[in-house]
Amino acid sequence: MDNNKKTGIGGKILLALTMVFFYLPILYIIVFSFNDSRSLTKLGGFSLRWYEKMFADSTMMEAVVYTIVIALLATIISTIAGTLAAIGLSRSRKVLRNIVEQVNNLPIMNPEIVTAIGLLMFFSAIGIKKGFLTLLLAHIMFCTPYVMLSVSPKLRSLDPNLADAALDLGATPIQALTKVIVPQIMPGIVSGALIAFTMSFDDFIISYFVTGNGVQNISILVYTMSKRINPSINALSTLVILLITVGLILANVVPILKEKKEAMGKSGGKKGIALGLAGIIALSVLGIIGFGGNSKMDAVAKYGSDTLKLYNWGEYMGENLINDFQKEFGVKVITEYFDSNEMMYTKLQAGDSYDVLVPSDYMIQRMMNDDMLQELDHSLLPNLSELAEGVQNLPYDPNNSYSVPYFWGSVGIVYNHNNVDPAVVEAQGYEILRNTDYKGRIYVYDSERDSFMMALKALGYSMNTENEAEIQAAYEWLLDMNNTMEPVYVTDEVIDGMITGSKDIAVVYSGDATTILEENEDMSFWMPKEGTNLWSDAMVIPANAENPLLAHEFINYVLTYEASMDNSQYVGYTSSNQEVLDELSGEEGLYAENEAYVPRAGYEKDEVFEDNPVLKKTLAELWIKVKAAK
């Protein structure tokens, strides 16, 4: 029966299908990274534009460099520390050994998210500034146990007399360690190092919680960017695949070359690896410095530092805004993205520092109350005069003492007028979201604020109500919608979803509606008669900003015609610059025919959100309950 050593035809088919399953996504990434179109599903010709975009985007390149540097450093440190600890452990008393093994198991056996929040709270408690150091410490922390796990079995199978023999023959303890023990357990050390490297290179959850201040790795970047279709992610991923493939090939080829070299009687293989490693580190470090390298000394002289840390919403800036600003002022901008005001607020509270933030109205109000913002120096902001009429004298900051509007708009309903009768939309307003004719055909924006706004307005209440009965009624309204309509809750994905016509009805921000209407002419926009949320996002400088001068320069720059035009054209949101607003919505303008671009003004049922942290928390919890109900 020796013939069963061959794989049968059924087995071969199974393996082939498995490989398709494993490699399809990877192939997909690579193919779509060269796709000219923005679509995730349709190929539109060959193009390198996403690569250009990626390489031009210093945030992306920095993430790559950070990922590699952190992975290398964490691997080296945890491999050395783990090996030494494992050797020490193998000689320790049993009690200590058991305790250490148990504690070591914690990071391995605990869900990552638990480890992550533990570290987050720990770092906050001792007041370390989150960023490179915390990220590195966390990575070393979770890599080391894996190294030990890989080294310990080799140590156990080691002849216990080996070290004694070395000492007997005159080796010092250190020599015994490096010349006898370490070479014996080398396979364990190498596989431990490999595990450590992949763990670190791939880590998302722990990194996501412990980093900050603009330091992010590829995983975090992909996560924050993935809300909207962004083929640059594919380009970035292809780059990662390339790096890994090259690395694996090197790891497999170098030993072969080394063997050949040794066979030829020459040494130096080890040196070669060490040199290669040193080279990679040096390159990476140079890379980091290099990104800062294009700034000029004058910038330092003028602003005190040449780096601006910007914390903005994802996909919320014109294509060239950052690059143009960097060039014009000879500075460097580090951008980090958030996907909710609360997330930004939490980060800030946890001690992260940024120079410019772009929060929304109510959040600005809260931050003003919490003394988290700096008063703006209007002498540094001559372009304030350009502000559009609609964003002057906003209730939360009428004199722009703390904030300068960035984008503004409302919330309304986008619907496919081929499938949904406009008359019905106009008659039912938000109630259409509970019209079971459209069951399974709706998107709802995944935010407690906007969802409750919708429900409260539908019920005829104020969206700022504190009346418990009204809130309860709204909760039940949403629950009913959730249970009867099979809604899909989305954030920025709504844009692409509606452009491709996946659903018929969506509640969206007017700016997103602008983009949707531009791309898909089957779509129409309706501002419900029940009233809506008039919102604005504005630029502020937090109290702990490290470079307020440059922050003012940036805010002033955003208000210029060129920057505002770039922003509004690319993102589709309503500009805070009157000239740009007029031009884009004018007869010749890009958005001339687009009913979503200019927000409704002066309608009495429209409101602006007021900050109310307690209410906010209640709504947040109610909202997650709505979503979780099935």
Binding site: G11, L15, I26, R91, V103, N104, P111, F201
Partner: protein, 279 residues
Amino acid sequence: MRQFRNMIYPYVGWLAVMVVVPMLMILLYAFTTAGNEVTTFRFTLDNFVRFLTDAVFLDVLKRSLLIAVATTIICVIFGYPIAYVIAKGPERSGFFWIMLITLPTWINMLVRTYAWVGILQDDGLLNGFLGLFGIGPFHMIHTTFAVVLGMVYNFVPFMILQIHASLAKMDRSLIEAANDLGANPVQSFLRVTLPLSLPGVLSGITLVFLPAVSSFFIPKLLGGGQYVLVGNVIETQFLTSGDWNFGSAISLIMAVIIMLSMWLTRKVDTDPAAGGKGA
């Protein structure tokens, strides 16, 4: 060789600071109320009560466990035959297949999961392919199917590797002995191969169940915003609501559940009765 013994002490210190202290902080936060100052420290069970008395949160927990269990079962059903075919095949090609299976795990999990977002779209690659045969289109993205698929995709290599390791190290003469004693191929698989590979299956289960139950980016990317699992609730508490005490309590509940299930798994593993008198 006492001289190497001292090398453990720095690591013990490191463990205490970087592992034990953070865990204690979770405990501390879980049992206290928000806004505690050192002076007004107040212990409470409110956070646990709040979670465990709320039907919605219990539903979330139940759903997370169900998804994780489903993922684990599918991984076993899918992973076992693959591991078996590889282990039974020639050794050199086995090495090659294992290498091929390991390779994608080197590439960022998020990146690979993100690719599925495109593949599973209503007008995506998979529906396009099925369309060639006149099947579909199916709505897949933002469904339980998509979430489970994403989890299986990410975690099944761990299962395959574990099962393969246990099958590969199995002495071939055991199968021969079973044949020799009158067992046909099916019988020798059921009575010898399967029971002997159980430890591999069990450690595979641990490696799949653990990340599946706490994952939050797979449901978020592939399930959409309405797909709330425990991991998402914890993330929200920490990064959006800022309620660290409640978040810590939920984490603790989850950690306890996982520890319990692993303890159970191990008990099955070491219990001689489990592999005892089969017939």
